[in-house]
């Protein structure tokens, strides 16, 4: 059999207790907005909200206490983040730091780097962007051109990163760049540098997306000095480190819950105006989410067991993001609404903002085509 292994996800009493606690907190924080039919969405950055989560110990939950973490179980973290994402909590400010940078530094970072960043990340006060793609590079990350030239005491970094989410709000960026060899060497010779975004020579230019929001940036590095101590992990090992990071980036509930607020709105509207078709359509979407959630939670279990979830993560993200895109389409087939982000009707407003954001779902964190290539490789046909 060629089945990918998806271990049984596990739930614990502690995690369920935490679920109630997180849900009560979110009701208090977001209840008023929700009652007014407003929904924020998890990609929205709200430093004040991040600080509140940090104060409650809900960032860096599984990290060692020595670095400001909570030493809680992966199951507890899964429950806390799925509750936040389902509620559309504005976790954007600290999200990549919590999801990727923390685990990266715990896996490959130096003691100094951990002490420098992790306590602030866990407190919800330090944000970190990820500099991967570049103009003209797209998904072909092995062809990055940003170059860090070794100099006395460190490196001089020059190049441009693009689609860098929330760089303008972040304190640091993890930048994938070439330290050795030539572009023809592909994966070999790439390294990850931890860059202080206040350093001289850095310019951050906004890129406004088609929804009118500014989360993307283009970040220019002009001969920026990076101290040697800010090299993450092993020089030349950047590709391996990035690939490991991607597995955890792709499997989480953020890859199938982006449109979930529309489902809740559909339930409320169907309660008011029920038909058999609406009931079945809503039930279908909820069943789809429930089964995907099981797959996603099982990847959390793999990570906990120290297994490599790269292929499984790609698979969950491929199916999850397709569902995220389908949800607003189903909504507008069920109700004669005109989707409009600023509309007064809560369902129309939600469907409107979701439809506009929808193209990004199957692009960010690995396009659908890249993901299917990863799955095909996992199947042994590439």
């Amino acid at each position: 059999m060629t089945a990918f292994d998806f271990p049984y996800p596990v739930m614990t009493a502690e995690a369920e207790a935490l679920r109630s606690e997180v849900r009560a907190f979110l009701d208090e924080e977001l209840g008023a907005l929700r009652a007014a039919g407003q929904y924020i969405g998890w990609t929205h950055a709200d430093p004040e909200f991040s600080r509140k989560l940090g104060a409650r110990g809900w960032i860096g939950m599984t990290w060692p206490k020595a670095y400001g973490g909570g030493e809680r179980s992966a199951t507890e973290r899964y429950v806390a983040i799925e509750e936040m994402l389902a509620a559309g909590a504005p976790v954007g400010a600290h999200w990549t730091a919590d999801r990727q940078v923390g685990p990266l530094l715990l896996g490959h970072g130096s003691e100094e780097q951990r002490r420098l960043l992790l306590p602030g990340i866990a407190a919800g006060t330090c944000y970190v962007a990820i500099g991967l793609s570049e103009p003209g590079v797209g998904s072909d990350l092995a062809s990055v051109k940003a170059r860090a030239t070794p100099v006395d005491g460190g490196y001089r970094l020059s190049g441009t990163k693009i689609w860098t989410t929330n760089a303008h709000l972040s304190h640091y960026a993890v930048v994938l760049c070439r330290t050795d060899g030539e572009p023809a060497d592909r994966h070999a010779g790439l390294s990850q540098l931890l860059v202080d975004l206040k350093a001289p020579g850095i310019e951050i230019r906004p890129i406004v997306d088609m929804t009118g929001a500014h989360s993307f940036n283009e970040v220019h590095f002009a001969d920026v000095f990076i101290p040697e101590a800010m090299l993450i992990g092993t020089r030349g090992n950047g590709w391996v480190q990035v690939s490991g990071e991607m597995g955890s980036e792709r499997s989480g509930p953020d890859r199938f819950l982006s449109s979930f607020a529309v489902v809740e709105a559909l339930v409320r509207r169907t309660r008011e105006e029920p038909t058999d078709e609406r009931r079945a359509a809503v039930g279908r979407l909820v069943g789809h989410v429930a089964v995907l959630r099981r797959l996603s939670a099982s990847i959390a279990e793999m990570i906990r067991n120290g297994e490599d979830p790269t292929v499984q993560g790609a698979l969950v993200k491929d199916i999850g993001t397709a569902l995220e895109q389908e949800i607003p389409e189903v909504a507008r087939r069920l109700f004669a609404i005109e989707p409009s982000p600023l509309g007064e009707d809560p369902l129309a407003a939600l469907v409107g903002s979701t439809l506009l954001a929808s193209p990004s779902f199957t692009l960010r964190g690995g396009t659908r085509e890249i993901l299917r290539g990863i799955i095909a490789r996992g199947l042994g046909v590439r």
């Binding site: 059999m1 060629t2 089945a3 990918f4 998806f6 049984y8 996800p9 596990v10 739930m11 614990t12 009493a13 679920r19 389902a86 509620a87 979930f260 489902v263 809740e264 339930v267 409320r268 169907t270 309660r271 029920p274 058999d276 609406r278 009931r279 079945a280 359509a281 809503v282 039930g283 279908r284 909820v286 069943g287 789809h288 989410v289 429930a290 089964v291 995907l292 959630r293 099981r294 797959l295 939670a297 099982s298 499984q312 698979l315 491929d318 199916i319 085509e369 993901l371 299917r372 290539g373 799955i375 095909a376 996992g378 199947l379 042994g380 046909v381 590439r382």
Partner: protein, 339 residues
């Protein structure tokens, strides 16, 4: 399972031939008793382990009513009834109408059951009836019902059965599961079988794509084909997750919503999987001679049995409308993981 159900045997069974020897072998292995609870004298197998066996039934396209026999044996043991040996099947409870009345020391049963798996070969037919004081299990021996032969989309025997007969008191016993409960349990078992069948589609299709050459290379080397294979693997994973979810909810109090989500999700994924598998195979997969249809047709048939997507999605939808704290709370309540 693999030895018992080689290609020729599966093909004989799939053309409607009763595989008496295979049945005896499976019965002798105790597989039909897998869902009998320990308290009822059974082996006390965890439903998840019993599901592993049924997934193999789907994987190898076992042409026998094993799911019905397993579920029937569990009900039989629960009722304390004894029946004669030989093949046993269970009438789909939502396709069954039984009027039961006391007559003398025993009963009189009048009614019919549609789409009974392998009804024509059963030594014992089990029915769920609603009596005045709760649900009952009715055991009809062969000879007391007439059979009109039929088949599902895969050609598996699904017979219409009629009866109008006296029965001894011992042939009707109360059970703790309603027709709705048994229907849901049947849906859970079909979900598990579906996961096995989709896994087989994936394996067959990968093997074919690696071997079959076009334009000078194996078709698996073309990106367009790889994308289809990746999607097919995704459907297999979804079916497996749905299968685990259904197996965990089997016989659980309150398991109905989870089974509903799982059966509907697996049915939709199975149809897409069948489409993708055929697309990658091309014309050869559409022939009678090639084995793909043994699996793809079963998957299309099984998504209809014990409730199709329309039925189960509506049940999940109603549960959402009834859930005062909304859809997400419903998912976390019923989408349960192992504890």
């Amino acid at each position: 399972m693999r030895e018992l159900f080689d290609r020729e045997t599966v093909r004989r069974g799939s053309s409607g031939e009763w595989l008496a020897e295979s049945w005896q072998a499976i019965d002798a292995l105790g597989l039909t008793q897998a869902l009998v609870k320990e308290a009822d004298g059974g082996p006390g197998i965890d439903p998840a382990d019993a599901a592993d066996m049924l997934r193999l039934v789907g994987y190898w396209a076992v042409p026998l009513p094993l799911a019905e026999a397993m579920l029937g044996a569990g009900l039989l043991a629960q009722s304390g009834m004894a029946v004669a040996g030989g093949p046993m099947t269970l009438a789909p409870p939502h396709r069954t109408t039984v009027a039961l009345e006391h007559r003398g020391d025993g009963w009189f049963a009048d009614g019919h059951a549609a789409r009974v798996p392998w009804g024509r070969c059963a030594a014992t037919l089990l029915l769920i009836a609603a009596a005045a004081d709760g649900p009952c299990l009715v055991a009809l021996p062969a000879g007391l019902f007439t059979v009109k032969e039929g088949a599902n989309l895969a050609g598996e025997p699904r017979d219409d059965v009629r009866f109008n007969t006296s029965l001894p008191a011992t042939a009707v016993q109360p059970i703790g599961m309603t027709a709705d409960d048994v229907h849901a349990a049947g849906a859970a078992l079909r979900t598990v079988m579906t996961a096995g069948g989709v896994q087989r589609l994936l394996d067959l299709t990968l093997g074919f794509a690696a071997e079959h050459r076009q334009f000078g290379r194996p078709i698996a080397k073309f990106q367009a084909v790889q994308q289809n294979l990746a999607m097919l693997a995704g459907q297999a994973a979804l079916c497996r997750a749905a299968s685990d979810m259904a197996a965990q909810a089997l016989f659980a109090r309150d398991g109905r919503v989870a089974i509903a989500m799982a059966k509907a999700r697996a049915g939709e994924a199975a149809a897409l999987a069948a489409h993708l598998a055929h697309q990658v195979h091309g014309a050869i997969g559409f022939t009678e001679e090639y084995d793909l249809h043994l699996y793809s047709r079963r998957l299309l048939a099984w998504r209809e049995e014990y409730g199709n997507e329309a039925e189960w999605n509506a049940i999940v939808g109603q549960a959402c409308l009834d859930s005062a704290d909304g859809a997400w709370a419903l998912i976390t309540r019923h989408g349960g993981f192992a504890r």
